[in-house]
Symmetry: C4
């Protein structure tokens, strides 16, 4: 068994799958990057072109809504429009070890290189430990020349934040991408860090729209987010009812 | 030393050991899967055909009732009856690392492939955090076409449960088995998660009996379970007595 | 850099270093095994014939009493008397990972095989969580035929103890040794588990004396142990004084 | 992707980069070694000749003051003066695993060997758990013949300290360097262990000045340290203000 397997679907990377831009939105703080990337995939109608399985992911399967399992994995989606071609990297998990993080990031970049990627956007959250009314979007770049454009699009490139650096795929794709001559921009939406945060995702999407010259509607993202919150609330209610029922055994 | 060693006994896999069905019951929540698989091995008189040792298991030996040690391992048992041929995968432990989980599951599947396995049943518990009077059996499949049969046999294929996916060998054998074209069904008996749970195991066995067209008696499993509970109680009593004796030194 | 390096000193394994018996006393519960093996090395005047370094040991150096450092390692000592030839395996640490435990144990056995080892004694403590006035010695074997001899020498081969198996080198050398056709006996002195326990070590040595037809004096071990306890007491006193001095700053 | 990559800049190791002495100051207790080594690099005007990237470092990027990221790495600086030639090993992190520590230390030593290094100074802190008015400098050597010189320079080579050995690169470079025939001296400044400690660093530098026949001004180091303390104080103040503002939402 290979440490990392990239299973290509019908379209061949480099010939049928060609894109200058890779957008990463793997799970992370507030799932901000994941929300944005998955929203873009739906809105643009991007198609899945590859699945990535790895011994560095948690050893588990995910159960879909029909009770069918599939291996925990990451996925590559492809969008080829008239004006833009994008690859999206999304998925269930990041690596479980430091070594796995590096080796997976390297594999993602190698796949990107085969598809002609020269610029990477990594999307994430920036946990501030408190509720944020109007989430700012922070930016970081892997090349000084990229800074002005990121600031012009509405992101704040701060000399103090995030203090601890950028951890995981969002950081490594920029750092390892630099060695491969790829431009890299990381956008981070401010978020409490306690909850899935679609409001932060909407803020981030607005900046990304400007950077990519797109006009994907963030209000739809917010609506989807509100639905999620309703579902979350229902789960909490169900939990409460079941606890109440359980208590009856003891009363 | 190999990372994983499968020590074959007398019978040759593929020629002398041939079975279309692999049943996994490794240790897990409530030891539900382990109880069912070991009960079936005893009832059917299956014989051990292979032992699996690995650097991914905990670094320890098990002491048997005569004070003789053996390396922590997993074992393959083989049953060849007139109507059914089964492989059973049971053992002391699962892997100690994410990587080990994947590599062991892959090794189990490769052994299964050599023996002609085309369908896998993985057995486990589904921890609900409270005592369950009448444990349900949940099912998950690695192929939508398997769902109807599992439901007909009395298992519930739920779109909500288990929420966190299936962790360890019970999940990976289905996920990695899918890539090898093997059908996979996971059965999970509801259990508190705090105790070894033979009642849940008996429920699970009833469903498996139906699925496999067998009639292994679950009451025997329940009797063995009651014996276990008695032994457990004795141990608790011994512990109490020894604590009482110890207290005397201080009185 | 090799994962495991066995640095041979002057004498060549297999020709100049030949012994049928390997005695392991690596650090463990109560340092019982370590105390016994190091005492035997001193009493018999065994000489160091090899050092083992490994990336699986903790990444640190030990400072000797002159301020000179040496890499954390394990060591092989050799004793060749008229009636007995022994290898001793002692050292600073056991492995830091499950995989490392297996690979190191395998390397120790391979070295033993080169030197003609056919029987292994592993020495350790058996933590019981309370002070023990007259520590029993428990035994476990990797071959049923060894049991009677171990019991005749005064060890108790129990069907219940230790319940959790034997963890680390003391267990793996027996388990992996079995596959190499080596006899293996583990002796465990009862000990609280909280302190270095020379009294338990002396009990263990008495059993080992009988098994090996030796007469190494355990009272010397107890004297050394008492010295250790005095040193320990001094350290505690120094600590108290330094704490008192520190408190003066705040008074 | 290699486990460890040493990216050489313009100057070729062994021909253009030649030095008998390697000085290590990686992050550690009180950042004492890091403060000293980075201060020496600035004062001597040493130039960066290599960067080391590794899957054994934490999976993250560091953001510089302009919002530009770079991969977490270690760095080699080179100083070639009339009387002295030094290599400096500094950087962001040490390894995240025991195995990584060994493999990185081995790679550092191999690079040193190519550059002609025959003596290594490793610099660190020695945590004592209390504030120290006049920090002593402890020394350890990998060869008894080095002890007298270290003591003459003002370091204390103690038979009791540090009791637990020396962990990480500072220890391994001495231990593994010994096998390569390299002299190794570890200097450790006493420090509380709770704070970055420039006062301890200044004490250490004085000893190192003597050992290397240098006269690098430690008062500058203390000034830089005071600036750091002011910055730290500002951060604490900002934190307080932001907490006060947050409280207003609830008042």
């Amino acid at each position: 068994m290979e440490e990392i397997t990239i299973r290509i679907f019908e379209k061949e990377p480099g010939t049928e799958v060609k894109a200058p831009v890779l957008i990463e939105g793997l799970p992370g703080i507030g799932h901000v990057g994941k929300l944005v990337a998955e929203h873009m995939i739906r809105e643009l109608g991007a198609e899945k072109v590859a699945e990535i399985e790895s011994i560095f992911f948690p050893p588990q399967v995910i159960i879909d809504e029909n009770g069918t399992v599939r291996l925990a994995n990451n996925e590559i989606y492809y969008y080829a429009g008239e004006h833009h071609q994008f690859l999206f990297l999304v998925g269930d998990f990041q690596a479980t070890s430091a070594e796995g993080h590096y080796l997976l990031a390297d594999a993602y970049l190698e796949f990107g290189r085969e598809c002609g990627v020269s610029r990477i956007y990594t999307l994430g959250g920036y946990g501030v430990g408190r509720l944020v009314e109007e989430p700012r979007v922070l930016g970081a770049v892997n090349h000084p020349g990229l800074k002005a454009g990121v600031e012009a699009a509405g992101a704040i490139v701060s000399r103090d934040e995030p203090g601890g650096g950028i951890i995981g795929a969002a950081g490594l794709l920029l750092g390892l991408g630099h060695s491969r001559g790829m431009d890299g921009i990381c956008l981070m939406g401010e978020t409490s860090g306690y909850l899935v945060d679609p409001k932060s995702a909407a803020s981030l999407l607005r900046v990304l729209n400007t950077l990519l010259d797109l006009s994907i509607d963030p209000t739809l993202l917010e609506q989807r987010a509100e639905e999620m919150e309703h579902m979350l609330q229902k789960l909490v209610d169900v939990e409460r009812i079941s606890q109440d029922e359980e208590l009856r055994y003891f009363v």
